[in-house]
Amino acid sequence: MRIEPRESVSLAMKGIAPLMAVGTAMLVCSALLVWAGASPTQGWVLMISGALGSKFALSETLTRATPLILTGLAAAVAFRAKLWNIGGEGQFYMGAVVATWLGTGPFAMPPYLMIPYLFLAGAMGGGLLLLLPTLLKTRLQVDEVVTTLLLNFIVILFVNWLVFGPWKDPMAMGWPQAAPVVDQALLPQVLDKTRLHLGFFIALFCAVGVWWFMRATTWGFEIRAVGASPRASAFAGMPVAAVTVRTALLSGGLAAMAGVAELCGVKGYLTLDLSPGFGYSGIVVAMLAALHPLGVVASALFVAVIQIGADSMSRSINISSYIADVTTAVCLLAVLVAMFLTRYRIRWR
């Protein structure tokens, strides 16, 4: 068996592949639903209406998509430069930590200053966090996949220490959470009686901004060039190490902004369950979007629909919530495999 790239991909195939992926995923998950004693048709209808069927469902899906867009952009930018940043989860929490640190009292500012300030400071925190493994990569050729991944655990244990130790909210009766951010730092609600907050539009703005940056600026061009071929870029006189560092600051900053958005938009205070794996899901989002910044928005919405829909479906028909997790995973896996198969073929010998 051999895997080789396809010379040309027909339009029909590009169209059929995702449909087949969805079909396969539906078949696998239907089997699971039947096994759990539920009707698959009912399950799928509930899943779609649970994610899109009402104003409330839609608002929840958009709320879930907000951090996914930002962590997805973070992965897309880094992977474009072949900087394998697996540390989105850690950078997410670093953003939330910085926002908690600065947003719980030391500075009093009106919201229109406070919110940009926290986003910028949080982004700097995340960028600096990714700088460490990036410098190790550019200076000492240390593999960043390993270092960024392991940094996640260090950051999460750091947060663990903070919320169980010095930052524990004295008003929380021993519950491990940090003090809530001040009211001026809270992102305003966009839709009454829902959780949809300003962060969604900040995320959209970032997606357009990153798209423009990658397309229309010299720095963006350099990032793409270094990703395509570092040696050729160096030969052309580009400062490859500096470009990688810039990419790291941008990527880490975007992931950290997701943490700030989630903290100031949804939760209000730092806990250890702030993220159900947004940093890791961001990688999937970026891959589904083929690293295109605007595609990230679409794929983040897709992932959010699956996550919210599957969760709602499992609750509605009283089946194990693990089936929701499996459904999410199978859908994403199927789409990724289909994308792979449109670009490569498998030859049997």
């Binding site: 195939m13 087949m20 079909g23 396969t24 078949l27 696998v28 239907s30 089997a31 039947v34 096994w35 759990a36 004693g37 539920a38 209808v45 509930l46 899943m47 209406s49 649970g50 069927g53 009402s54 104003k55 409330f56 469902a57 929840e60 169980f164 009766m173 021993g174 519950w175 491990p176 009686k193 829902t194 959780r195 989630e262 949804v266 939760k267 209000g268 205070y269 806990t271 369950d273 702030l274 159900p276 919210i308 969760d311 709602s312 479906m313 609750r315 509605s316 028909i317 009283n318 194990s320 919530s321 198969l341 073929r345 498998i346 030859r347 049997w348």
Partner: protein, 394 residues
């Protein structure tokens, strides 16, 4: 391309086959699966806002029903904390003017607010949110839905339409401690505990006071799991205590896993939430049990006749029937049983001396002087261990 198509076709075919097989295998089971589905009528998160205002003004008086929602942190089938709450829900469901629905296994993180919010917007009259971590989401949602009443279990915040409520489970814990202290041989007892918060610390202290009442030499070792429901982790924690020489395992967790670990090691165990004897019949001494039915029924009746009031902290006791201990196992000697039941009668009559002085803290200093008792406020904010507990309250 053709190869790929074949591959897909083959996998699709085999899947279809599997599917039909599953369908056959499951056919007789279907009825069973349907039973729990009926009560989820209102749980249906998906259904849009189509539901007409059921509580419409024009509805005739006798048709007026109270719609009650419950949010649980763990599965209801686990004999644990959520199971106990669900028994309370069933008692409410049995009233002819009530419809109930529940959502189980709701993590305390980002998803809990969605579940609570979703119930609030569906015209529930009252919503019970039954885990500590739901406190802030409950307060937040309640603010936006002033017409919905909320009951939050085990927290301390309240507002105009939110009450917090709990039971004096420490009274039952004390009694289980009396039993455990009389049964230990190694004078070392283990306690698998969830989070270092006052609710749990208070339980450990009451248990330890009971243990030391029966056996002043004994000590209670505490292990924190920092989770409410994680059977595998709870079992490992119990094993580590058993390995350290503990011969009675108590727990503040939602699953019976520590009971099973104790039985496997030939040790004794003390359950929590409900009578856990069926999970470890040879190990189970007794359990500290919840009985939410009287409280839930009363609350729902108050909602119906309009006497429900918000902004209250409710803390019911053994006298009110919300807490008790399970029948003691056959291995417990008769004289111990008699002693424990005598103390239980005292608590039943409303005399509560569990946290009466003198009580020493871990450093051996007098924390509650003789002649005084801890106030409710002090008990609710308890962050220190009594003498005899080995472990840190952090």
């Amino acid at each position: 391309m053709k190869k790929m198509m074949k591959l897909f076709a083959a996998s699709a075919l085999s899947l279809a086959l599997m599917l039909s097989l599953f369908a056959c295998a499951e056919a007789p089971e279907e009825k069973k699966a349907e039973a729990p589905a009926t009560q989820s009528e209102a749980t249906t998160e998906a259904s849009g806002e189509a539901s007409p205002d059921a509580s419409g003004e024009a509805a005739p008086a006798e048709e007026k029903t109270v719609k009650v929602g419950f949010v649980y942190v763990s599965p209801v089938g686990d004999a644990g904390y959520s199971y106990a709450h669900d028994l309370g829900r069933k008692a409410v469901e049995a009233l002819d003017f009530v419809t109930t629905s529940y959502v189980e296994s709701v993590p305390e993180g980002a998803d809990s607010e969605r579940v609570i919010r979703n119930m609030a917007r569906k015209d529930f009259d009252i919503i019970f949110t039954t885990s500590f971590g739901y406190m802030d989401p409950t307060i937040k949602v309640a603010k936006e839905f002033p017409g919905v009443r909320f009951m939050h279990c085990s927290g301390f915040k309240k507002s105009e339409n939110v009450n917090n409520y709990f039971g004096r489970i420490y009274q039952a814990r004390y009694l289980t401690g009396l039993v455990a202290g009389a049964m230990t041989k190694s004078n070392r007892l283990g306690y698998v505990a969830a989070f270092p918060i006052p609710e749990v610390i208070r339980g450990i202290n009451a248990f330890t006071l009971g243990v030391r009442q029966s056996n002043p030499e004994a000590e209670v070792r505490v292990v924190w799991t920092k989770t409410w429901y994680d059977p595998a982790l709870e079992k490992d924690a119990a094993k580590s205590l058993l390995d350290a020489g503990c011969d009675v395992i108590a727990q503040h967790q939602d699953s019976p896993a520590p009971q099973e670990a104790a039985q496997e090691a030939g040790a004794y165990s003390v359950g929590y939430n409900s009578d856990m004897s069926s999970f470890a019949p040879r190990a189970h001494l007794t359990s500290a049990m919840w009985n939410w039915a009287p409280m839930y029924v009363k609350t729902v009746e108050q909602v119906r006749d309009g006497s429900w009031q918000g902004d209250q902290a409710l803390w019911w006791s053994m006298q009110d029937g919300v807490v008790d201990i399970a029948p003691m196992g056959p291995m417990v000697p008769e004289d111990v049983k008699a002693q424990v039941l005598a103390k239980r009668d005292e608590l039943m009559s409303g005399v509560d001396t569990v946290f009466a002085g003198p009580i020493k803290n871990q450093q051996g200093e007098i924390a509650v002087p003789e002649g005084t008792s801890m106030t409710d406020g002090e008990m609710l904010g308890m962050t220190w261990f009594v003498e005899g507990v080995v472990g840190s309250a952090e």
